[in-house]
Amino acid sequence: MKARVTVTLKAGVLDPQGQAIQGSLKGLGFSGVGAVRQGKVFDLEIGDVDASQAEANVRAMCEKLLANTVIENYTIEITP
């Protein structure tokens, strides 16, 4: 079983890296691009557990380590 965790900055948290990427995209001629927010993706192999247990385990991992919930949100996808 696998889990994908996506960590994104909360709304209202300044993202200077996202802004720099937006500026670079504009420089390449992608003029229609609005705000860019940079995040992180973690792919985890989590062994054979049932889906609800897997979700609970990964949620605990997010709360304890993978995300800093002061500034970040996370979403979890579990796949077989």
Partner: protein
């Protein structure tokens, strides 16, 4: 007053911190490796600066989950003084021992320069050697010193005298909210700060403005 310095792999300011504590306190601090869950009985625990675990995941995040931090959390709860400088501040904030978080500098650049700090709360065991509102010089050297806290946390920090130092005279080097350079925990026995007072303690450094912090701490 006995002090301990905690060392994680990737720190590089530990020798400066040990030198400052030794020169000003007159006694070398105990040096504790991060895998030691035990810390000798001390009155002050210091986490110096550097790049623990290569700043992987988030600055300070991996070090904050190491066994020694559980001991530090327990000592802090017992009233032992804890100070984290630079990466040490990042580790304390990731541990939840001080409020808020340190993000990438707003300029996206590593900054290594001198700033001015105003002493925002001189009524603590860390800052009593300064006058309230005193402006001091202090070097900074970091890539991730952009202090952030949500509105509710910020209100509490500001309202409870938990701001220790603010960047003064337009010298905020990193975009920190409210110009915050250092914060206390609610009971003010834990201090995290981005600037390096240990690097301005003798004439050869070009100034001694950092000295009062150590002199006060080590005399207390």
């Amino acid at each position: 007053m006995k002090a301990a310095v905690v060392v994680f792999p990737g720190l590089n300011r530990d020798r400066d911190m040990i030198a400052a504590l030794t020169k000003i306190g007159g006694e070398a601090p105990a040096v504790v490796w991060h895998k030691d869950a035990e810390i000798p009985k001390v009155d002050l625990i210091v986490i110096p600066g550097g790049f623990s675990y290569g700043d992987y995941l988030r600055v300070g995040a991996i070090a904050a989950r190491s066994p020694v931090m559980q001991t530090i959390r327990e000592r802090a709860a017992q009233g032992v003084k804890v100070m984290g400088v630079c990466n040490g501040f990042q580790i304390l904030s990731e541990s939840g021992l001080v409020p808020g978080v340190l993000m990438r500098n707003a300029s996206l650049r590593f900054v290594c320069r001198e700033v001015k700090l105003s002493v925002e709360n001189a009524d603590t065991d860390f800052t009593r050697g300064y006058a309230q509102g005193q402006i001091i010089r202090c070097p900074v050297a970091h890539h991730d010193g952009n202090y952030f806290a949500d509105a509710e946390t910020l209100r509490a920090v500001e309202g409870n005298g938990q701001v220790a130092f603010r960047y003064a005279e337009g010298t905020n080097p990193n975009g920190s909210i409210n110009d915050i350079a250092g914060v206390f925990n609610a009971s003010r026995n834990v201090l995290g700060l981005m600037p390096h007072p240990e690097n301005l303690i003798e004439a050869a450094h070009g100034g001694t403005d950092g000295r009062a912090l150590f002199a006060t701490l080590l005399a207390a």
